[in-house]
Amino acid sequence: MKEYILDEPLTPAFLTFLRSFGIVKEYPHMKRPYFSFEHEHFISIKGFTGDTSVEVRYQKGFSDLTSDYFHLLLFYSRQGEPGIRKMHEIEESIRERMKIRLPR
């Protein structure tokens, strides 16, 4: 588990971007608007919209393959639709390497 401090607050637009890759849950009526993101085998993210810190968990056994995944999401989230396509390509490449590692 890692806690990252970001340069900019997390935005609702980033959550919309995340929805292209996994399950986003939101509890906007909490004291601080909470969200979580789950992408099986890749990462899970927890945080508050508008915050500059976020908790990211990587699945054991694959963390060396996925350790950059969160930062790639942040980077490509600024590129809209092309960013979504690029992330899907990156994900596919990671999945191929994961398949080699998964028990048969």
Binding site: M30, R32, S36, F48, E55
Partner: protein, 387 residues
């Protein structure tokens, strides 16, 4: 509660894991202990310093009303104690035997027993609990002709329920069954009189309600012959012989003791004696019932034992994962709890389908305001989940 310079509004409610803060007297004793050379007969020629191991064994004997100070053994933790006792008991048996434990247990009981079962050293019966308790009747039903060992908790670290171990101890003692009682969640929270509880062994940890440091625990053993030692090494005495001494307490201890841990345990016991065990018990019960009282009418909150005897309250909020609740309580409200399975998987299989829950646990040093603020926070999170 001592303020955390990084987060002045921190409300620490994970005392069932380890207590925080520690009383100032414990911190003072630690500093005092570290400012002078450590001393124990046979290990040092230092004079005019406290022999912490001896002083602490004597203090434990008074505190727990036990006859033999030297039958208090220091270990790293309750887990370490339970491993020594369970493995040591099994090692002493000539043939496989039957053991009984309960669904309330921590993995520090379940894992050693399951490991021994897997090795063919014993067969194991795990008794279900009812209304958060396991009774003597439950244990009697499980007894067989080859039952030699019962290992059970004194207080559940999830449900906060106190088990009535005295009749169970009396029954086991009468029937030549060795009873190991895990007092990790009770030592320091309620009065315990070992002269009235004829358990084969009573396990304690130093860093929970006894206010010592993590890294110190122990156990009291009535009959040292019942357990084969599982570690050998330097004892500071009889160094010529290559055979580990069998007299107490050396029989079960080897290597340099954790002097700072032992010193912290001594100071913790003195603190409890000064404050009064009954005062501590009553305050913790008051905090627990206040907290539960604030949550009990909220239909979005599932309380797993609204009648908790110990300051341990486990709950879930409907439509939320327990780890999410824990995260929001910590980050948005500064309320520190514990989530997930609390190292007690069988309890959770029964109460929440194995998904885990949020656990709040108070200490004598928790203030009533903190208790009420935490309850308010939980209710706000529950309300937020419902919208």
């Amino acid at each position: 509660m001592a303020p955390d310079p990084g987060n002045p509004s921190l409300i620490y409610l994970n005392n069932a894991a380890t207590t925080w803060p520690k009383p100032p007297e414990v911190l003072d004793e630690l500093v005092r202990c570290l400012r002078t050379p450590f001393f124990e007969p046979g290990r040092s020629t230092a004079g005019n310093v406290t022999d912490y191991p001896t002083a602490t064994r004597e203090a434990l004997a008074v505190f727990f009303h036990a006859e033999e100070p030297d039958h208090f053994i220091f270990t790293q933790s309750a887990t370490d104690s339970l491993n020594i006792l369970i493995q040591g008991f099994a090692k002493n048996q000539k043939t496989p035997f039957h053991a009984i434990t309960t669904e309330l247990e921590h993995n520090s009981v379940l894992r050693p027993l399951n490991t021994l079962e897997g090795q063919g050293a014993l067969t194991l019966t795990t008794i279900p609990f009812h209304d958060s308790r396991v009774t003597l009747q439950d244990i009697k039903k499980a007894i067989r002709s080859d039952t030699r060992l019962v290992v059970m908790t004194h207080g559940s670290n999830v449900l906060g329920s106190l088990q009535h171990i005295r009749p169970i101890a009396e029954y086991c003692a009468t029937n030549d069954i060795f009873l190991i009682v895990d007092g990790a969640q009770t030592a320091g929270l309620i009065p315990i009189n070992l002269s009235e509880i004829p358990a084969g062994a009573f396990v304690l940890t130093g860093h929970k309600a006894l206010f010592g440091l993590p890294g110190i625990g122990g156990f009291y053993i009535q009959d040292p012959q019942a357990i084969a030692p599982t570690r050998q090494g330097g004892t500071g005495t009889d160094s010529r012989t290559l055979v580990h001494p069998q007299d107490m307490p050396q029989k079960f201890e080897a290597g340099t003791p954790n002097y700072p841990g032992i010193a912290s345990l001594l100071a913790g016991i003195h603190y409890i004696e000064r404050e009064g065990q009954d005062a501590i018990t009553n305050k913790c019960r008051s905090l627990t019932s206040r907290f539960i009282g604030k949550l009990t009418k909220d239909l979005n909150i599932i309380l797993y034992n609204p009648a908790a005897d110990l300051p341990v309250v486990s709950f879930n909020i409907r439509n939320m994962d327990n780890d999410e609740v824990g995260y929001i309580l910590a980050k948005a409200y500064g309320v520190i709890t514990r989530t997930d399975l609390h190292c007690a998987p069988l309890v959770h299989n029964r109460i929440d389908g194995g998904k885990g829950c949020v656990r709040v646990s108070f200490s004598y040093l928790t203030t009533p305001d903190e208790c009420l603020m935490a309850a308010k926070a939980v209710r706000e999170v529950a309300a937020g989940a419902d919208r």
